[in-house]
Amino acid sequence: MQMKRIIFLAIGVLILVSLVAAGCAKQEPTGLTLGEGEEVVSSCVTCHSDKATLKEVATQEPEVEKSEATSGEG
């Protein structure tokens, strides 16, 4: 009888620990699923909503050269 209690208690602790562990684990962006295998939210949103990352990886756009000969209003 005593042994049974210990086994149930151990199983209970195990379940509790695994639940807590799952809750604390770092969540990977899993995204919403639109259809079969189609990833909706992805690394696109992860990067484009992270100001620091965007600043870090941003590259200067090629400057569109405009003529200096242009004058007057457009």
């Binding site: 919403l32 639109l34 189609e38 990833e39 909706v40 939210v41 992805s42 690394s43 696109c44 949103v45 992860t46 990067c47 484009h48 909503s49 100001k51 965007l54 600043k55 990886v57 941003a58 590259t59 200067q60 756009e61 050269e65 405009k66 003529s67 200096e68 000969a69 242009t70 004058s71 007057g72 209003e73 457009g74």
Partner: protein, 360 residues
Amino acid sequence: MEVWQKVFLKDAEFVESTHGKVGCVICHGGDSRDGDKEIAHVGLVADPSEGNCNTCHQDIAHANDISLHTSLGGFESVLVARGGNLEEGSPLAIAFENHCQQCHTSCGQCHVSRPDEMGGGLVSGHEFRKTPSMQYNCIACHGARIGAEYLGENEGIPGDIHWTDESMTCAKCHSQELHGSGQSIATRYQNPDVVKCEDCHQDVWTNTESNPQHEQHLADLQCQVCHSVAYKNCYSCHVAIDEKGLPCRTSEPSEIDFKIGYNPLRSSTRSFKYVVLRHVPTCVDICDYYGDNLLPDFNVLPTWKYATPHNIQLKTPQNESCNACHGNRRLFLTEEDVSPEEMEANKDVIVTDIPELREQ
């Protein structure tokens, strides 16, 4: 605007919206599975309007495809009317490609981002704004004349009463017409949905007894003849390719002026005899860099065009009294206002019978 700001999704809630749920790659392409920027961006389409918006918004997208905002049909129709040859490879077609094509827009450049011509960049995260931003979209392109008039940025000229008193943004009046009517048209005034004063001010037409000036003039005068004030006129414009091979243009300084002329677009829906005219940035040799006499029928259309200045006032200098306008030659487009080389083009809009002074 910094480069990163142009593509920053400041509001992550976007992904829960209808458009957000579609998924980035469905419209923009690229590879969302890879965290490396270079790989993720292979095949990326920054402005995916073409071929995507019409999946869900068929009616609007179809109409918009041939709207003036997209097709530049307004430029094209004027050049063709003036005898221009726009067949592929012709000198005028090359000029058109170099100098006019930049002025079209796409669904995204009104509803999501700033226009490319203004440097692009998301307006408010990736939010799809049903009503485009007046500041970042409408006036970004229509700022030199209409925007400046409306906001009162021309020195000494008040802003439009619809803005100064009512804070009405562009879309308050201009809505469905901006997507076109679904028919190919030559000017915005041919669009059956084009905004009209009477859309809001019906009482002016139904209750003329309380206003003798309205009773007298509603049929003959465009509303702006009495209710707009001085506006910007642009003169001369020459397009060319500079020494570095870049498209360039030159024009003379603009002038703030107010001119009433004969209606060049007189029709059953615009039957006024007198309208306000604006000199547009053109001249007979505008494209001479690309070849001689590319617009052989230049004089078919006036250079003083039917205008709807966006600086409406209840009280204006010309509606102060009958004789503020009657007999006031300065308000009317006469031969003295037109350069000799443009006289023929404007012969039908130059006023020859200025209304005589009224006995007070």
